[in-house]
């Protein structure tokens, strides 16, 4: 037993290439990410005191223990977590909390998903109704309601979230949302680990297949396979490691998870705003930094319409100012606050449980000065954000080592 830790650091971190991995199963992908993170940190499985294991689509399968069966059955506690699209961030929180509480001085977190070719991930298919009407469920519905009482498909839910922002503050349009997607697809050309690295013109994006207006296909997150893993270490333990390990370690200045507090319309259209703003507020306070200090942000652009509202929710701009903020060029990689220089979920891809650690990998890689062609020069502070409907929001603030 060690004592409670004041500081948390990322010692090692790794992500697989996102995309199609037909010859790898979940355990193969997770193993590649975890082995990579351990090697990156210069540690081994036997050094780990806890595992936070994230996988959503096979959440009852015990992915943490499956990984141990391949990489090392050391008997440590495994917490298998599922928290929608915040699953990866939740796994990281588990490792961070265990280290913070002093239960161990090093913890492992990973997230893995196989989603290539998965199509729509929600929305009820409808068969011939037949038979006789019989009310069921919490609304006493006699037939499926998706498509009859609004929509349950994610591109449609998040389309409305972007449109609601437009109704409240003005300035949005199909073209504006498409321009956000244009930015992220442009950024992806510099990221060799992204699932899609093709630059797309505004005309191509707007002319592509419409999924749920105003989101066309390239404005939606890309279903793909992938995994990411991180080793969390306490500040005290880090001081005992090599200077090289200390130099490359990335400080976790804030690690926050929130859920959606009750708001008038939150059970009608999910409120992704309040819990993100709450998480951001807590994170800035915990880290002692403000939005103006951020050199880069990886936020949850599950759809182009979502990215816009999170500029505001993360307080990167003034309240109501997200459209002007984007139009100023601030969120392009050469702008004031580069957002999603990885290409974001729209082009890097969104293997759900991997996303909340892969975005930490992206920011950490820039803070280490190891991001190659897409390096944001001089990056010292970055923020990552994920949101899972239901809802859960994870925000991490990371800082470059002073060592």
């Amino acid at each position: 037993m060690t004592s409670a830790s004041d500081e948390l650091w990322i010692l090692g971190i790794h992500m697989t290439k996102f995309g199609k991995h037909p010859d790898m199963d979940l355990v193969d992908l997770a193993s590649e990410a975890v082995s990579g993170a351990l090697a990156d940190g210069g540690v081994e499985m036997k050094d780990m005191g806890v595992i936070g294991a994230g996988n959503l689509m096979a959440a009852n399968a015990g992915i943490g223990q499956q990984l141990q069966k391949q990489l090392g059955q050391t008997g440590i506690p495994v917490y298998n977590v599922a928290n929608a699209c915040a699953t990866g961030a939740t796994a990281l929180r588990v490792a961070a909390m265990a280290v913070k509480a002093g239960e161990c001085d090093m913890g492992l977190a990973f997230g893995v998903e196989k989603l290539s070719g998965a199509g729509l991930l929600s929305g009820g298919s409808r068969k011939d109704d037949g038979g006789t009407w019989s009310p069921s469920g919490r609304y006493g519905a006699v037939a499926p309601v998706d498509g009859r009482i609004g929509t349950e498909i994610m591109p449609g839910v998040f389309a409305q979230i972007g449109m609601e922002y437009g109704h409240k503050y003005g300035g949005t349009s199909f073209e504006l949302f498409a321009r956000i997607s244009e930015k992220n697809h442009s950024h992806s050309t510099l990221n060799p680990l992204a699932a899609y690295t093709k630059k797309m013109s505004l005309e191509e994006i707007m002319g592509d297949i419409m999924i749920a207006y105003p989101n066309t296909r390239p404005m939606c997150s890309a279903n793909c396979d992938g995994a990411a893993a991180a080793v969390v270490v306490s500040g005290a333990k880090l001081k005992t490691l090599s200077l090289e390990q200390q130099r490359r370690a990335v400080k976790i200045s804030a690690s926050i998870l929130t859920t959606d507090p009750w708001e008038e319309s939150c059970q009608i259209l999910p409120d992704v705003n309040t819990l993100t703003r709450n998480a951001a507020n807590q994170a800035y306070e915990q880290a002692g930094v403000g939005p103006e200090d951020l050199n880069l942000v990886e936020l949850h652009d599950c759809f182009a319409t979502a990215e816009l509202v999170h500029y505001d929710n993360l307080m990167l701009c003034e309240v109501g100012g997200a459209v002007d903020f984007f139009n100023s060029g601030a969120t392009w990689r050469d702008g004031k606050t580069p957002v999603n220089v990885s290409g974001g979920l729209e082009s890097k891809g969104h293997p759900i449980a991997a996303t909340g650690i892969a975005n930490v990998w992206e920011v950490a890689t820039h803070l280490r000065g190891e991001a190659g062609d897409r390096q944001i020069q001089g990056a010292k502070v970055g923020l990552t954000h994920v949101i899972g409907l239901g809802s859960a929001c994870g925000v991490h603030i990371l800082e470059k080592s002073a060592a």
Partner: protein, 132 residues
């Protein structure tokens, strides 16, 4: 006239079809589903309240790609009915961004969604343009 049944139990049929909500008697929060307690304040005493049949479109999307068997395109919306948010389709309107706009005024309308083997009609609802 055929027997009728509402698509969901919070749709009240009759001469003046309308939606009704469970309103928390302690804090006034409104819900359309069966409740265990109030998600806003935690109390568990509710009363039925009628929801205004007119409202304003606060958000919409035009779904062009849906799960198998769901006809497209359709317009899904968040309608503000006198301060109570309602999820519904917009009906009796062309499903394109020239005809559907943010802030448009709408009213509740019902439609038959199907007939079962006992000849009972299931009645759904949507919102249509007001005075259009």
């Amino acid at each position: 006239m055929a027997e009728q049944i509402p698509l969901v139990d919070y749709l009240v049929l009759g001469n003046e079809p309308h939606l009704e909500a469970n309103e928390c008697t302690a804090c006034g929060a409104r819900f359309f589903d069966r409740r265990n307690a109030c998600a806003s304040c935690g109390k568990n005493d509710f009363t039925k309240v009628d929801i205004s049949t007119t409202g304003e479109v606060r958000a919409f999307t035009i779904v062009a790609f849906a799960a198998p068997g769901v006809p497209v395109p359709y317009v899904a919306a968040l309608v503000d009915c006198g301060g109570t948010s309602v999820r519904a389709n917009l009906i009796n309107v062309e499903p394109d961004p020239e005809h559907v706009t943010l802030g448009m005024k709408v009213r509740l309308a019902t439609e038959v969604i199907g007939t079962d083997s006992n000849d009972t009609e299931a009645i759904g609802f949507g919102f249509e343009p007001l005075g259009g």
